[in-house]
């Protein structure tokens, strides 16, 4: 059969990976192979489902069944009972803390009921290491549309109208920031993605980079188009090995497709992204300190003005946005 009739999504976020989700995935593959079902059932490792407390998570579609705290030993039971006989494995379903009832569908869970996912729209849905799945979810369509049909000024106006503000915490209007950087005149400008997430216990940026890295790359390219930059830098902390690995894969795949590099989509627009590692200093999440750190200087904030929009990385106009801010951009367009 050409198409899979069932998809098994195994969470590949850092939390679930630490609880052996890699082994769960390979156990699924082995068991399915033994039953001769490898051609009919696809096993995918996705980004974080956001429910790490009950990880590792395994989701089965189209039945929309959400298994929690799955161990590698549980895999055989899921395959034999659920996949083959169509009986859900009750004991692994989420148990509502109040009603004590087992809930199989995320829509019935209080945790997910009221969520509308925008920045995390693809997390736990696509395989972050496969650019095709991102493209299948309208990925890079926003970039394509911007480059071919919309002028930079119009894009900036759209971002302004959307009311998007810096999601790193400062809340500076993103559209205005882009406009200021656009107005600065220079031979070289930069787009910087701030992935120096430092607050203890915070992992929104990591979740996005691990689960949907292409959304950030796409948005950086859009930003580059708006402000007139052909170079993007992601400043990420070295303690995020999985996020770095997935980001590297994403950059490589985007280059292969020509969605990063020279003459993107035949429009003559050039843009490429590089990664810079931070050593994990909290203060380097502040944009001037971050820029100094990237330049190889001591990571210390300096007084603004001059703002990075006028004088940033290497003294050139630089637009610094947070990961989550970027992840919202393609949706706006």
């Amino acid at each position: 059969m050409a198409e899979y009739n069932m998809h098994i999504l195994v969470c590949g976020g850092t939390g679930c990976k630490a609880s052996q989700s890699e082994l769960i995935k390979s156990n699924f593959k082995t068991r399915l192979n033994e039953f001769g079902l490898s051609d009919e059932i696809q096993v995918i490792m996705t980004g974080c489902f956001g429910f790490c407390e009950k990880g590792p998570i395994v989701k089965i579609l189209p039945d929309n069944t959400f298994y929690t705290q799955v161990t590698p030993e549980d895999v055989s039971e899921i395959v034999e009972e659920h996949i083959i006989k169509g009986r859900k494995v009750e004991r692994l379903l989420y148990k509502d803390p109040e009603s004590k009832e087992h809930i199989s569908d995320t829509k019935g869970m209080d945790f997910y009921k009221k969520q509308i996912r925008i920045a995390l729209r693809n997390c736990g849905f696509i395989n972050p290491e496969n650019i095709d799945e991102y493209i299948g979810r309208d990925g890079y369509a926003a970039l394509g549309t911007c480059l071919s049909e919309i002028t930079p000024d119009e894009v900036i106006r759209m971002i302004k109208d959307s009311g998007l503000r810096g999601r790193g915490g400062g809340g500076f209007p993103t559209g205005l920031k882009w406009e200021l950087t656009r107005k600065s005149v220079a031979d070289q400008k930069y787009v910087v993605c701030n992935a120096d997430e430092g607050d203890p216990g915070a992992f929104m940026d990591r979740s996005i980079l691990e689960g949907d890295p292409h959304s950030v790359l796409e948005a950086m390219a859009i930003c580059g188009y708006c402000i007139g930059a052909d170079k993007g830098l992601v400043y990420i902390r070295a303690e995020y090995p999985l996020a770095i690995e997935r980001l590297k894969i994403a950059i490589k795949q985007a280059r292969e497709y020509g969605l990063l590099g020279d003459d993107i989509l035949g429009t003559g627009f050039n843009f490429d992204v590089e990664i810079r590692y931070g050593a994990g200093a909290f203060v380097c999440g502040e944009e001037t300190a971050l820029i100094h750190s990237m330049e190889g200087k001591r990571g210390e904030p300096t007084v603004k003005p001059p703002f990075p929009a006028e004088k940033g990385y290497n003294g050139k106009p630089t637009n610094v946005n947070n990961v989550e801010t970027f992840a919202n951009i393609p949706v706006i367009i």
Binding site: D63, I84, I126, D132, R137, G144, E149, Y257, L259
Partner: protein, 131 residues
């Protein structure tokens, strides 16, 4: 991988790859879609349930009808295999017995598309856990 040269090429690729994740998108709003459960226990499989299921998946896909086809266990009507349970959103599930390819085609044409029941319905004497 070949480079994508234009927006049109990107859109073309998008349509191609969309089918790969369509199943997941369907699963996300399953309550609004037609659901077909094919009974796939030993009795069902021996009577050709696998072929029936494949036919449903391919034919519905071919005709561009959004539906979810899943397998389930024995429904207890082993004399009438292959059996399927068809649920139109907002309606009671209907169970059909002896669903061969020809029957499956009739079900798609009449029941799925026009919401007209066809011969071969087994009166159900159970209710499933879900409802």
């Amino acid at each position: 991988m070949n480079k994508i040269k234009s927006l049109a090429d990107l859109k073309k690729l998008q349509t191609e790859v969309q089918s790969k994740i369509k199943l997941r998108e369907k699963g996300d709003h399953s309550e609004n879609l037609i659901q077909i459960k094919v009974s796939m226990a030993t009795c069902g499989i021996a009577s050709g349930a696998k072929e029936t299921m494949t036919y449903f998946i391919e034919e519905l896909d071919h005709q561009g009808i959004d539906a979810i086809v899943t397998q389930t266990g024995c429904m207890g009507y082993c004399y009438a295999e292959p059996t399927i349970e068809l649920t139109i959103p907002g309606q009671q599930p209907v169970v059909y017995g002896f669903v061969t390819k020809a029957k499956a085609q009739e079900i798609i044409e009449k029941h799925v598309k026009l919401n007209e029941m066809v011969d071969g319905i087994i009166p159900v004497n159970y209710s499933s856990i879900d409802n």
